[in-house]
């Protein structure tokens, strides 16, 4: 597997000092939540979680902020990895393996974690949701047989975990792997007729469900670079007018990334992100993954991929996987 740095490199060693105040403050805040075991929690003082830890690493690395803290976070993630390569939400709940793609992001470009990352990738490739022939199109409108990824083992595949898995395969250069191709087809199949994505159903009893901005944005992010724009235009047309109304970090963060991945990152991104950060005065501190996602969205010039040195490419090593 080819190594690529996680971050966009900047020549200025003092880059971290150039980070604008609200974003620097956010980075310092999430850094301060790191626990002695290297992991990060959702909120200060809580137990560390793999997904929160991965997001902390991705965002801090993107800003070249405290590499030592990131390294300790990567070690924590490795300590949470099961023998089969999965990284679950808790060791006590191996079936909840949806954070595995996030760990793949966090380990990207670090040779000491190549083996851990490779095992995680192998796990993803061998892992799928519960799929079955579509029983009756008048009841369930999507193709239930196309392989994707579930949130939890032995359940159906849904939009967000499939998108995360696709992104992880793309980051390690497996965007043309058969599982990645199937995942893209699955997302296209789950796209709503009028644009956007729900959590993963299209029609139920012939009624089309409502699109959700957070699911639509992450699906757009996952399909960028591998799908012709004509196939998702209606979803871009749905999400773009939604953007000015999005204030919460998950939906805004993914919307900025998803649109950015298609070259549509708005010029006022930082303004939107600052407004979102200010909402914490109303709602209290955001959970770490939300905060980190927002920071990534500010930093990424063209979607999540641009936090990596190069766009996903096949490599000789990765192309041998099947």
């Amino acid at each position: 597997m080819e190594y690529r740095p996680l971050i966009e490199l900047h020549g200025d060693l003092n880059f971290s000092l150039m980070i604008q105040k609200p974003f620097r403050h956010a980075l310092e805040l999430l850094q301060s939540w790191q626990q002695p075991n290297g992991g990060f929690p959702y909120h200060s003082g809580e137990e560390a979680r793999p997904d929160a830890t991965a997001w902390a690493i991705i965002s801090m690395s993107a800003y070249e902020f405290d590499p030592e803290s990131c390294n300790r976070g990567r070690a924590y993630l490795a300590s949470q990895q099961a023998d089969d390569g999965r990284v679950s939400i808790a060791l006590s709940h191996p079936e909840a393996s949806w954070p595995t793609p996030l760990a793949i992001f966090a380990w990207e470009s670090f040779p000491q974690y190549q083996e851990a990352q490779s095992r995680a990738v192998d796990y993803l490739i061998g892992f799928t949701g519960r799929h079955f022939p579509t029983p009756d199109l008048s009841i369930i409108g999507h193709d239930t047989a196309i392989l994707g990824w579930p949130w939890i083992a032995d359940t159906h595949s849904w939009v967000v975990p499939t998108s995360l898995a696709l992104l992880a395969l793309q980051v390690v250069g497996l965007s043309t792997h058969p599982r990645a191709i199937a995942g893209q087809q699955m997302l296209i199949n789950r796209q709503l007729t009028n644009g956007g994505w729900n959590f993963g159903s299209t029609t139920v009893f012939r009624r089309e469900l409502h699109p959700l901005p957070e699911c639509s944005a992450i699906a757009l992010q996952a399909l960028a670079g591998t799908t012709p724009i004509r196939e998702v235009k209606r979803s871009l047309d749905y999400l773009l007018p939604e953007l000015p109304h999005l204030r919460t970090p998950i939906s805004l963060g993914w919307a900025l990334l998803g649109l950015g991945a298609w070259g549509l990152k708005p010029a006022n991104t930082e303004e939107l992100a600052r407004a979102s950060l200010q909402l914490q005065e109303r709602y209290g501190p955001y959970p770490l993954p939300s905060l980190a996602l927002l920071l990534c969205a500010v930093k990424a010039s063209h979607g999540l991929h641009s936090l990596f040195r190069s766009l996903p490419q096949e490599t000789p090593a990765s192309s041998t996987r099947n």
């Binding site: 959702y42 809580e46 137990e47 939400i89 808790a90 006590s92 709940h93 909840a96 949806w98 519960r130 008048s138 579930p150 949130w151 939890i152 032995d154 359940t155 159906h156 849904w158 967000v160 729900n198 959590f199 139920v204 009893f205 012939r206 009624r207 469900l209 409502h210 959700l212 901005p213 957070e214 999005l246 204030r247 919460t248 970090p249 998950i250 939906s251 909402l279 109303r282 709602y283 955001y286 959970p287 939300s290």
Partner: protein, 343 residues
């Protein structure tokens, strides 16, 4: 942390008494249900309260307090207790307020519990379809109420879990993972919405607890529970969680293709009670649904609570006076055969 169900003590019959009873068969037709009680021993009974409110801007806190009084819930019982209110916010969309428990019902419940001396009231939810919980709060309108009233909120989807043995035994799940907060409060209250449901028939106070189960462990949607069986999971969750109270928002409910795509219907009621199967059965009657046809209610009957009308003491309005049949969809299998022939 549970409120024990009420048993109606009925003397059991001796064989001689049973024979004598059979000999007076003419009387059996009149009092057949009483004889059934005699034959089967103690029966679970419960009280429910129906309060009318035509609009959300009514004094809902006062209506809920009135319900407390009718149901024998006193300040002495509530004083010092930590209350968790679990609204139904499965998939809010702006301008579609009939999907969710209305924010003013949440406000009214908070005020009512605090006025009886509750030590704390926290609102908590793990939305079933959306992992952006903050957006759920904003789109549902609940965020404004929480902020204005300084009511704390907890996102159950990302809360650390506590594993509890499955006391229901209806699914293959040996244990259930609840958010830790259920161990840190004294009362768990279902603040549900009155809706039809295209998989379960109706979603009321018992089904509302799907939203308690953290998405981190059960997914978005809570597909683990779907795979395990929806009626069975409802029973397992309720049998294990042992909730203390329910308030169902039927001021504007949802008929047709619920729980998301249905249409608004005004019933103008809040339905309340300590026993959730009894509350849900009463809601069904208001909705023109035979509760005995709802699988999870039928299975809950005389295990988690009563669902038969004769065993539910009605306080406040009679369900017959607020009866307003909810539209059912003939093409939806879970709706077929639900219509009640009562009235």
């Amino acid at each position: 942390m549970t409120t024990p169900p009420t048993y109606t003590e009925q003397p059991t019959l001796s064989r001689r008494q049973l024979l004598q009873a059979c000999l007076v068969g003419g009387g059996l037709a009149v009092s057949g249900f009483s004889l059934l009680h005699w034959l089967t021993g103690p029966r679970l009974t419960a009280q429910t309260f129906i309060g009318q409110a035509k609009i959300y801007e009514a004094d809902l806190a006062n209506l809920i307090r009135q319900g407390f009084q009718e149901l024998g819930i006193t300040p002495l019982e509530i004083k010092g207790k930590r209350i968790l209110l679990k609204p139904n916010l499965v998939e809010p969309h702006q301008s579609l307020s009939h999907i969710n428990t209305h924010p003013l019902v949440v406000r009214g419940a908070v005020e009512a519990f605090l006025s009886l001396g509750a030590a704390s009231v926290v609102v908590a939810e793990g939305p079933g379809h959306r992992h952006d919980t903050l957006l759920v709060l904003e789109e549902s309108g609940l965020a404004d109420v929480l902020y204005e009233d300084r009511i704390p909120f907890q996102d159950l989807n990302i809360m650390d879990g506590v594993v509890m043995p499955n006391l229901g035994g209806q699914t293959r799940m040996a244990s259930l993972t609840f958010p830790r907060i259920v161990k840190e409060v004294d009362w768990v209250v279902s603040l549900a919405k009155m809706k039809t449901h295209h998989w379960a028939g109706a979603t009321l106070s018992m089904k509302n607890f799907f939203g308690v189960m953290p998405g981190n462990y059960y997914g978005w949607p809570k597909n683990v529970l779907h795979q395990a069986g929806i009626p069975q999971s409802i029973l397992d969750i309720n049998a294990t969680l042992k909730p203390h109270f329910a308030i169902v928002d039927g001021i504007i409910g949802m008929e047709g293709d619920g729980p998301i795509m249905g249409t608004p219907v005004q019933s103008g009621v809040l339905v309340m009670g300590r026993n959730l199967p009894a509350v849900d059965a009463t809601c069904c009657r208001i909705m023109g649904i035979n509760p005995d046809k709802i699988e999870y209610l039928r299975k809950a009957d005389q295990w988690l609570g009563p669902i038969h009308e004769s065993l539910i003491e009605q306080r406040g309005e009679s369900w017959r006076t607020v009866h307003r049949p909810f539209a059912l969809v003939p093409e939806i299998p879970a709706h077929q055969g639900l219509r009640s022939s009562q009235l």
